[in-house]
Amino acid sequence: MSQPNTRHNSTPGSERLTAMLERMLLIRRTEEQLGADSRAGELPGNVHLCAGQEAIAVGVCNHLSDSDYVGSTHRGHGHFLAKGGSVRSLIAEVHAKSTGACGGLGGSMHVTDLSKGMIGANGIVGGGIGLAAGAALSAQVAGEGQVAVAFFGDGASSQGILPEVFNIAVLWKLPLILVCEYNGYSEFSASSTVNAGEIADRARAFGIPTDVIDGNDVEAVWTSAAIAIERARKGEGPSFIEAKTYRLRGHLEAEDGFLQAPYRSEEEIDQWRARDPIPQLVKRLTEMSAMSDADFEILEAKVAAEVKDALQFANDSEPPEMERVLSSVFVDQLP
């Protein structure tokens, strides 16, 4: 059908890997903070954490600059930070503060930083796919080699907008990279119960170059993304990456409040814990002699300080004023 990605020769190298580790760790620790805040009842809304899936966001976004676009999901903290959004603005946003990325008007499901090309987390499953495809169209018309990435889940893959976008992206050769974060679940349903066949085959049917990879291996993600993004920048059209992964936390932090029974076995979770992308990457860097225990401790401390600072920043910030709401509906016009 379509040609599979031929493995890219270039690999990220230890310096880049270390930088990616830092970003992944930043995502993890930030979300741990938010998870704790959520359980402590300190957050107004729900949070969907991406713990365990950080390698995908970071491995892909490492290739992007601020002028490239990322469309995200309800589980968007990782994409936000990977795309260069600041921890302060993320934590402040989820804490509903005026200094948050969206001034406290969006919340966890809507974290956005247009100055970084992060066009937003989205509360509608599948919503970000259409937006990212539109950003790819914009990039194509602008003609400056920008690309757009759509992150979406395996559950989202059953939304009709995805094949609609497959079709248009091929017809128009859009600079679009479609990244399916296959974490095996759509809310509380195992993917196999809501997805027939292989998702990658659906992309292949439209003639989209497709790669199915280990999403917990940041090098694999980085290399696959390198090929796809290069293709997009050269005007050769869309690519599809299916990254197998797992979310180590619940669908949302509040789920224990309404679940009658667990939907995942402890065994399964343990298996995936053993494949946590962060320790895996640390191990790899250690093997490469690019990181010592001491180095890692320094990194951890740096990240911890950053998160602590951001939390302090959020706590010190004011909630948004009504003024802000009214001026955030229309440009130069009252609602």
């Binding site: 008007l105 509608i124 759509s186 909630p319």
Partner: protein, 324 residues
């Protein structure tokens, strides 16, 4: 009678009607787990043929529910949050609402779409809408917005026994409201019959869904000042029992309509328009609407609270009306 929460009352209605009519099916995303609790236990009882988790495919879900109904299988299509009804809107707006007319009356459409409405828990703009005004404008589709467990049960049971497409909306923040509910298996609440929750003579307050509870508190506050409120809950917005509302306003001469929907083309606007026309000569003051402003809902809780109807706003609107 049994005391239960609104979601439990809906759950009881599903159980009773699915036992009564073996053809009824229910499907939706994760209805087995049941995030809201209304579909809890159904899968264990009725099995995988009649209770089905679906993929996230709102367009197919709404279209299929209508097709199943046309083919004689009453279908409950659970859409979780009402915003997702907009994601799969074709099956509702272009099919369910129109097929009976388009087929010259051939089609019976025993299909019930279920979804939660309302803000108040900082779920953000895409999970907080109250879109019944949009549904009301469709024509051809019934709309239930129960405020009490009893009405929830009775309205759901009526929907499941009928042959008309229905959108059944569950006021989210009131899902935990408790109340007495009949256990009579034939307890039904009719569509198009408003509930006069309290009789009164000075002012009529019409409130919808969760706003009914705000209105009850407002009525109490007003009563302390000797103001007698007639409180009406339409319960169904299609059909809309304007007769009861108009008759009440003919008596009281004053009306406040409370509706969590955005103001523009809201249910409140429509009720105000109808009453303003039909009870014009009885009106002693202008009709006031207590609604949400014409904007998406922000996340920050203080802002969200400030934008939504509440007892104080109702009292203020009532006083304004009574002052003129």
């Amino acid at each position: 009678m049994a005391k239960m929460r609104l979601t439990q009352a809906i759950n009881a209605a599903y159980f009773e009607e699915m036992e009564r009519n073996e053809r009824i099916v229910l499907f939706g995303e994760d209805v087995e787990v049941s995030m809201f609790g209304d579909t809890r236990g159904l899968h264990a009882k009725f099995g995988s043929n009649r209770i089905r988790n679906t993929p996230i495919s709102e367009s197919a879900m709404t279209g299929m529910a209508v097709g199943a109904a046309m083919a004689g299988t009453p279908a409950i299509c659970h859409l979780m949050f009402s915003n997702f009804a907009l994601t799969g809107f074709d099956g509702i707006a272009n099919q369910a609402a129109k097929l009976r007319l388009m087929t010259g009356g051939q089609a019976r459409l025993p299909v019930t779409f279920v979804a939660a409405i309302g803000a108040g828990t900082s779920t953000g703009a895409q999970h907080s809408d109250t879109p019944y005004p949009m549904f009301m404008n469709l024509g051809g589709i019934n709309i239930a917005v129960p405020a009490t467990p009893a009405d929830a049960k009775g309205l759901m049971k009526s929907a499941l026994r009928g042959f008309n497409p229905t959108i059944f909306l569950l006021p989210r923040v009131r899902g935990a409201t408790s109340g007495e509910v009949s256990e009579d298996p034939d307890f039904l609440v009719p569509y198009g019959k408003a509930s006069v929750m309290q009789e009164g003579s000075d002012i009529t307050i019409v409130a919808i869904g969760s706003c009914v509870h705000h209105a009850i508190r407002a009525a109490k506050a007003l009563a302390e000042d000797g103001i007698s409120v007639e409180l009406i809950d339409p319960r169904t917005l299609v059909p809309l029992d304007t007769d009861t509302i108009v008759a009440s306003v003919r008596k009281t001469g004053r009306l406040v309509v409370v509706d969590e929907a955005r103001d523009r083309c809201s249910a409140a606007s429509h009720i105000a328009a109808v009453v303003g026309d039909e009870a014009f000569s009885s009106l002693k003051a202008s009709i006031k609407r207590v609604t949400s402003p014409n904007i998406p809902m922000p996340y920050a809780p203080a802002l969200e609270r400030a934008l939504l109807p509440d007892p104080d706003k109702i009292v203020a609107a009532a006083r304004l009306t009574l002052a003129s």
